[in-house]
């Protein structure tokens, strides 16, 4: 085995050094070229088109007002509940690793699933209505409203915030807790005085990220806005392109949204964004209270996060073999899979290429590595529909030969690349200095270093994040709402179209099958990772 590996290394070492080094950098340069092309052509188009502005001021201000209203309310709720939930989950003393994985899992679930989950939960035949109508005859809750949008938006962001705070709490050094206990300081008091700045350090980036996610809210508003008044900028872009055929308004709205979001995200980018801070889940029992109140609170929180899953029962109850074996379902399913696989492949090449350049610049003490970091992580903040509007123009007005499949794949891969990049950066940079010295000393080619040193090092993390972003891409319902035709639809779009054509039972059934498929996809890599962690015993 070692001989084979050595042979491979020899083979690659004979490969022209420069050629190999450029191959690693190519995906990043392609990305920079494409993004620059999109922005430059958009600006040229806006500069030469007349009139520059033909948007109704009243509806524009309404859109801006609603975007910020729902974003601020959802951010406030997510922060407050996220913090409270994390405290309860921490104090309840249940398995920390499982809780953290559960919160991560809730965050990456498809938006369409959570939205339909809540639509069913609050519908006239849903569990809430059935329960309250028993006591109050005329009870009804309108999910297609601002409240509905905020509930679903908060679901994701509570998971994001709670996970951040939970990891912080789980990482409190045990000796800190001992000092507090020794000095008779209750945990509630220590959170205000001694631990506040520890728990909230680094939170600013997460807060901005939450706000940016809420401002760039599209899918939830697209599915739950009950009236034209409930329109965010993202939805207005979609309406401008798809219904008003006014591409320019869409692009201008996209640029306005981009400026707003970049303004907020500039605060976050000045801080370190770190989603993969190493958390060592310890068995600290100080301050953990395994009492009935915390047990009840724990299960209430878990139940809240499990609410959308009730739709699975409804969906599977309406089991319909015909809709499962229909041609359109099969076509949508294959499209979804191909888009996700292609997006994942492109984003893996792009993120590994960016990481390699980032590390190379850092190892050589060039400050420009920060430019690489910003140029990639900024994509996390760019709203999908804003970019879609610009690519729409590039594609159709300038006559580019990109089809919908390629466009959706490219947009998806641009959005999942920063997630992979930020998730892997810590592990990728591990032992960077000593590896660099050894690579230099033994004249190891960068491509060899990437394949034989880096890949085994980041294997588990890579597998985990790949499965997460694959699922994110699979459940995406943003750019595909603009770039679709009769031959190109994905499963989320198909489900939303089934629902809007009043075929509720079929929509819930297809959704349930889709989610079960996603759940299976989620657990396969976990099984593999955990089996890798086990120490293999050799029998003699």
């Amino acid at each position: 085995m070692n001989g084979l590996l050595f042979g491979k290394i020899q083979l690659l070492n004979n490969f022209s050094y420069n050629k190999g080094a450029y191959i690693i950098k190519l995906p990043y340069f392609f990305y920079i070229f494409f993004i620059s092309l999109v922005f430059i052509t958009t600006l040229i188009y806006l500069f030469y088109s007349e009139p520059f502005w033909d948007f109704e001021l009243l509806s524009f201000t309404n859109v801006i007002k609603f975007t910020f209203l729902q974003a601020f309310i959802a951010t406030a709720i997510s922060t407050t509940l996220g913090f409270l939930f994390s405290l309860i989950l921490y104090i309840s003393g249940k398995n920390q690793k499982i809780i953290s994985s559960f919160l991560n899992f809730c965050f990456i679930l498809p938006v369409i699933f959570i939205s339909f989950g809540f639509i069913f939960f609050f519908s006239s035949k849903g569990p809430v209505s059935v329960f309250f109508q028993y006591f109050f005859d005329e009870y009804s809750f309108r999910i297609f409203s601002l409240s509905g949008i905020i509930i679903v938006t908060s679901y994701f962001n509570i998971a994001l915030n709670a996970n951040f705070f939970f990891r912080k709490l789980a990482n409190i050094p045990e000796n800190y807790l001992k000092i507090l206990k020794l000095n008779g300081i209750p945990f509630s008091k220590s959170i205000i005085y001694q631990l506040r700045s520890y728990i909230f350090s680094g939170y600013f980036s997460v807060l901005i990220l939450t706000l940016v996610f809420c401002i760039g809210n599209f899918t939830i508003v697209y599915l739950l806005a009950g009236s034209p008044n409930l329109t965010t900028i993202e939805l207005a872009i979609y309406q401008s392109i798809n219904f008003d055929s006014n591409l320019k308004n869409g692009i201008i709205l996209g640029i306005i949204q981009l400026v707003i979001i970049l303004f907020f995200s500039s605060f976050a980018l000045s801080k370190t964004i770190n989603f993969n801070s190493t958390t060592s889940f310890k068995k600290t029992v100080i301050y953990r209270k395994s009492n009935i109140i915390f047990d009840i609170l724990f299960w209430i929180i878990v139940s809240i996060f499990c609410v959308p899953f009730l739709v699975l029962f409804k969906g599977l109850y309406n089991f319909n073999l015909n809709s499962l074996f229909s041609y359109i379902f099969f076509e949508c399913f294959l499209n979804s899979i191909f888009v996700s696989i292609s997006s994942l492949t492109i984003s893996l090449f792009l993120s590994l290429s960016s990481l390699s350049i980032y590390r190379e610049l850092m190892e050589r003490n060039f400050l420009s590595h920060k430019i690489i970091f910003i140029s990639i992580s900024i994509l996390l903040f760019v709203p999908s529909l804003s970019l879609s509007a610009m690519i729409f123009y590039l594609n159709f007005t300038l006559g580019f030969l990109l089809n919908n499949f390629l466009i959706v794949t490219l947009i998806n891969s641009f959005f999942i690349t920063p997630i992979i990049f930020i998730f892997l950066i810590n592990k990728f940079m591990e032992n960077s200095k000593s590896e660099y010295r050894n690579s230099y000393l033994f004249n190891i080619h960068p491509l060899i270093r990437l394949i034989y040193i880096d890949m085994p090092k980041i294997r588990n993390e890579l597998l985990l994040i790949s499965s997460a972003v694959f699922i994110l891409s699979l459940g995406d319902l943003t750019s595909v709402t603009i770039f679709n035709d009769s031959s190109f639809k994905t499963i989320p779009l198909y489900i939303s179209q089934l629902y809007s054509s009043y075929r509720y039972d079929d929509a819930f059934f297809i959704l349930s099958i889709f989610i079960i498929f996603i759940l299976i996809l989620m657990f396969i890599p976990l099984r593999y990772i955990f089996s890798n962690d086990k120490i293999k015993k050799i029998k003699f």
Partner: protein, 230 residues
């Protein structure tokens, strides 16, 4: 004066039983291999672990069922003795005031105690800006301010330079003698412990050898101790 009466604690396959009594308040060295039970002993005495059976007495008072803050003791660990994100003042004053209020009286007390340990820094300096030795001095200052009669030092200076360790041990020695504090120091640097005390507990597989305090001379003929030195 500390007395451990058949103090038993079990976790997974490891069990400890400590049975020992000291005659007066002075410095005691606690030595033993890694995993022998030194930290368990400290956690039991300080109340972070509850014993399955047995009693702990300090100055003839049964403290077995008391909460850590109700026991008349202070403890120093190898790391994280201070909240890095807080200032020198806040880290010291939390020993007597959880709200860490900056009253004139508190400032005066903190400055006085800092003078005692020769730490000349602005009290509003963040602890993270201090060196390892200075940080440990801040935690010693908190112990001084708390003015407790039992001090547990769980390998507190092992990660510091030898010169720095010598100075800190000197500080501890002065403080212990002046305030008549009973001090238990756990360390694997026996040569350094020898310079400040000749009273040792040697722990082997969860038990104190011979269930008594031993001098270095007595220890040096013990077969387990010889193994330990090798």
């Amino acid at each position: 004066m500390i007395k451990l009466k058949k103090l038993n604690f079990n976790f997974s396959s490891f069990s400890t039983e400590f049975d020992v009594e000291t005659s007066k308040n002075e410095i005691f060295g606690v030595i033993g291999k890694s995993g022998s039970g030194k930290s368990t002993l400290f956690n039991l005495i300080s109340g972070f672990l509850k014993p399955h059976s047995g009693k702990i007495f300090f100055d003839n008072t049964d403290i077995t069922n008391l909460e850590p803050n109700e026991r008349n003791l202070s403890i120093l660990f190898q790391d994280h003795n201070n909240f890095d994100h807080l200032t020198i003042f806040q880290n010291i004053i939390l020993g007597i005031d959880p709200d860490m209020k900056k009253t004139d009286d508190h400032v005066k007390q903190v400055k006085k105690v800092l003078k005692k340990i020769s730490l000349n820094f602005d009290i509003d300096t963040k602890v993270s800006n201090l060196s390892g030795g200075e940080q440990q001095r801040v935690s010693i200052a908190r112990c001084l301010l708390r003015n407790k009669k039992l001090l547990l030092l769980d390998e507190p200076f092992n990660s510091l330079d030898p010169g720095l360790r010598k100075n800190l041990y000197r500080d501890i020695l002065t403080m212990t003698k002046k305030e008549k504090i009973c001090t238990l120091i756990s360390s694997h640097l026996i040569e350094e412990l020898k310079n400040i005390t000749n009273n040792f507990f040697f722990i082997h597989k969860g038990k104190i050898i011979e269930n008594r305090v031993m001098t270095y001379q007595e220890l040096s003929v013990n077969k387990y101790f010889k193994d330990y030195l090798q």
